[in-house]
C-alpha cells in the first residue's frame, strides 16, 4: 500500500516535468502558468506538513485547545495575498522575478538585502525540513513496529522526493502535492470521524465526555507544554506571529510567481480556507486520545499509537502511513526546491557570479537540492541537536520580513537603509529575547518584540535618510 503510494508519487513527479521549459523560469516558477487546482493543492499540501498527522493530534492530545491557534491563524493567514498578490505577480512578470528576495532587492536596489533574506530563509528552512524528514522516518518505524529504522524510512521517502524535485522542479512539487493533498483530505476526514465514533460513539459524545472531565482543554488558551493552563500572551502571540509569517514564508511566497494570472491567484486565496477545514478532523483525533489513551509519550505518537492498538486491517495502516508520508513529503519537497532556488538566485548569483547563465543556474539549483537534502538528512538522523528551539527562532525570523514587504509595496518613503536596519534590529531582538527567558513576559513570542523593534527602526531610519528615486519607487508602490 505504502509502496504503491511512493511509486505513484514518483511517477506523477517525473511525468509533470516533461512539459516545462528548460530555463530557471520553468524550473522555479513553472513558466508562470499554474492553474487554480494545482496552485490550490500546492499551497494546501505544503502547509499540511508532517505536523498535520503527528504534531497536530499531538498538540490537541497534550495541550487541548492550545492547538486551536493553528486553526485560527490558518483562517486569515493567506488573506494578505488577496490584496498584494496580484501586484507581486505582475511585478514578477515585468521584471522576471521568481523569488521573494529578488523583488525586495530590486525595490530597494540592494544586493545585501538579497543576501540577508536568503540567509534568513535558509536558517528558517533547515530545522523545518529536518523535522519533515524525522517525521517520515518516524512513521515508517512505528508502523512497521521497528522493522524499518528511522534512518532508512527517512532515506526511502526523501529519496523519492529528491528524484522528482531534481528532475521536474516546481512542476514536480505541484503535481505530486495535488495527488498527495487529495489523499490527505480523504484520510483526515475518515480517521477524524472514525476514531471518535469507535472510541466514544461519536464526535458529540466525545466532547460531552471531555467537557465533564477536562473542561480546560476545550477552551483557549488550553494547556502549556508543562500541563498547566497556558498564558493568554503565549496563545495570542503565537497566532499573531504565525499570521504575519504565513503569507511571507519564502517557499510559499514564491508560488505567487507561478500563478497563470491574477484571477487564478485570487481564486486560490478564496478557496484556501476550504483546505483549512481539514484541520478540524485532525484535531478530533488528538482529542479522541485524551481519555482513552492517557500517558502516551511523546504526545506526537498519539495517532500511530491509537491505530496500532485497534487491530485495524493492514490496508488501513498502510493508508495512514502513506497519508502521513504525503504530508511530510509535500512540505519537504517545496522546502528543498525553494532552498536550492533561493541559494542560487538570491545569494550565489548576486554576491559572487552575476554572469551566471540560465542553464548554469538550473544546473546549480539541482546540485544544491541534493546538497541541502543531504545536510537536512544529516541533522535528521545523525545529529542530536535539539531542533525545537531552532524552529521557534525561525518563525520569529520569518515574521520580520512582513513589515519589509508592506513597506516595499505601500510606503514609498521607506528606504534601503530603513529596511536593512529594521531587519537587523528585528532579528537581533528576536535572538536576544529567545536567549533570555527572563525577558519573555507573559510568554509573549520573542518574534513579536522583534517586530516592534523592526517597525520602529524601519520607520525612524527611513525618515532620517533621503528618499529613493521616485521614478523607480513608483513601479512598486500602490498609488
Amino acid at each position: 500500500m505504502t509502496l504503491g503510494y511512493l511509486g505513484i508519487s514518483l511517477g506523477v513527479g517525473l511525468w509533470s516535468g516533461r512539459k516545462t521549459s528548460k530555463g530557471t523560469e520553468g524550473y522555479v516558477a513553472g513558466d508562470r502558468a499554474l492553474g487554480f487546482l494545482v496552485l490550490y493543492f500546492i499551497l494546501g499540501a505544503s502547509i499540511f506538513s508532517a505536523f498535520a498527522f503527528l504534531g497536530g493530534p499531538g498538540w490537541a492530545y497534550s495541550r487541548g485547545a492550545a492547538a486551536f491557534y493553528i486553526l485560527s491563524y490558518g483562517t486569515i493567514g493567506l488573506v494578505p495575498w488577496y490584496f498584494f498578490g496580484p501586484r507581486v505577480a505582475r511585478l514578477g512578470r515585468r521584471f522576471g522575478f521568481v523569488t521573494q528576495a529578488e523583488l525586495l532587492a530590486h525595490r530597494y536596489q540592494s544586493k545585501s538585502l538579497s543576501a540577508v533574506l536568503a540567509l534568513i530563509s535558509l536558517i528558517a528552512f533547515l530545522p523545518y525540513l529536518t523535522l519533515q524528514m524525522q517525521g517520515a522516518g518516524y512513521v515508517f518505524n512505528v508502523v512497521t513496529e521497528g522493522r524499518i529504522p528511522n534512518w532508512a524510512g527517512a532515506a526511502i521517502a526523501y529519496g523519492v522526493v529528491l528524484v522528482y524535485v531534481f528532475r521536474s522542479g516546481v512542476m514536480g512539487v505541484a503535481w505530486t502535492n495535488t495527488f498527495q493533498g487529495m489523499f490527505m483530505m480523504v484520510l483526515a476526514w475518515s480517521l477524524g470521524l472514525y476514531l471518535p465514533w469507535k472510541l466514544y460513539g461519536g464526535v458529540g459524545a466525545m466532547f460531552a465526555r471531555l467537557a465533564e472531565t477536562v473542561p480546560d482543554m476545550l477552551k483557549a488558551p488550553g494547556l502549556g507544554s508543562d500541563g498547566q493552563i497556558w498564558t493568554w500572551g503565549g496563545y495570542s502571540s503565537a497566532i499573531i506571529i504565525s499570521v504575519m509569517g504565513f503569507s511571507i514564508w519564502p517557499h510559499y511566497f514564491m508560488k505567487i510567481f507561478t500563478a497563470r494570472n491574477e484571477r487564478t491567484l485570487r481564486r486560490t486565496v478564496v478557496f484556501y480556507p476550504t483546505f483549512q477545514i481539514f484541520l478540524i478532523p485532525i484535531l478530533f483525533i488528538g482529542f479522541a486520545g485524551i481519555l482513552s489513551y492517557p500517558g502516551v509519550e511523546p504526545a506526537d505518537a498519539i495517532l500511530p499509537t491509537i491505530l496500532m492498538s485497534l487491530d485495524l486491517p493492514a490496508v488501513v495502516i498502510g493508508l495512514f502511513c502513506a497519508g502521513a508520508l504525503a504530508a511530510s513529503m509535500s512540505t519537504g519537497d517545496a522546502l528543498v526546491h525553494a532552498a536550492g532556488s533561493i541559494l542560487v538566485r538570491d545569494f550565489y548569483r548576486v554576491v559572487f557570479r552575476p554572469d551566471l547563465t540560465d542553464d548554469q543556474q538550473t544546473r546549480l539549483i539541482r546540485f544544491l537540492v541534493v546538497v541541502i537534502s543531504g545536510v537536512a538528512y544529516y541533522f535528521a538522523v545523525m545529529s542530536k541537536i535539539s531542533l525545537v528551539a531552532l524552529l521557534l527562532l525561525s518563525y520569529g525570523f520569518i515574521a520580520q520580513i512582513f513589515p519589509v514587504l508592506l513597506a516595499a509595496l505601500y510606503w514609498s518613503r521607506s528606504t534601503r537603509a530603513g529596511v536593512l536596519s529594521g531587519l537587523a534590529a528585528g532579528c537581533a531582538v528576536t535572538i536576544l529575547w529567545n536567549l533570555n527567558p527572563g525577558l519573555q513576559w507573559q510568554e509573549i513570542h520573542p518574534g513579536l518584540w522583534g517586530l516592534l523593534a523592526n517597525v520602529l527602526t524601519l520607520v525612524t531610519v527611513s525618515l532620517a535618510t533621503p528618499p529613493m528615486d521616485p521614478e523607480h519607487v513608483r513601479q512598486f508602490v500602490v498609488e
Binding site: F68, T75, I76, A208, P215, L218, W232, V269, R413
Partner: protein, 89 residues
Amino acid sequence: MRPRLFSSRLEPAQRRVYRAVLVFFLVVFLGMIFPLVSVFSRVHPMILGLPFFLFYLTVLLLGSFGVLLGLFLWEDRTGTSGDPEEDAL
C-alpha cells in the same frame, strides 16, 4: 506622499467595498486573540456536538471564506480589480 492601501484608480464606491472587507478581517483577527477571544472561549453551550469555542472558530473560518468568495464574485460580476493596472509604462 501619504501611503495608500488601495489604488487611487479605484472609484470611491469600490474603495469602500475593499475597506469594508479589510475591516472585517481585522475584526476576525482581533476576535481570535486576547482580550476579545476570552469572551468566546467557553465550553458551553455545545453546538452541533462541538464545544462553543471550537464552533466559534469554525464560524470564523466559514465566515472568512464566505466574505472572500463574495468579494471574488462581486469583482467578477462588475469587472473590478482591486489593484488595477497602471497605464502601460
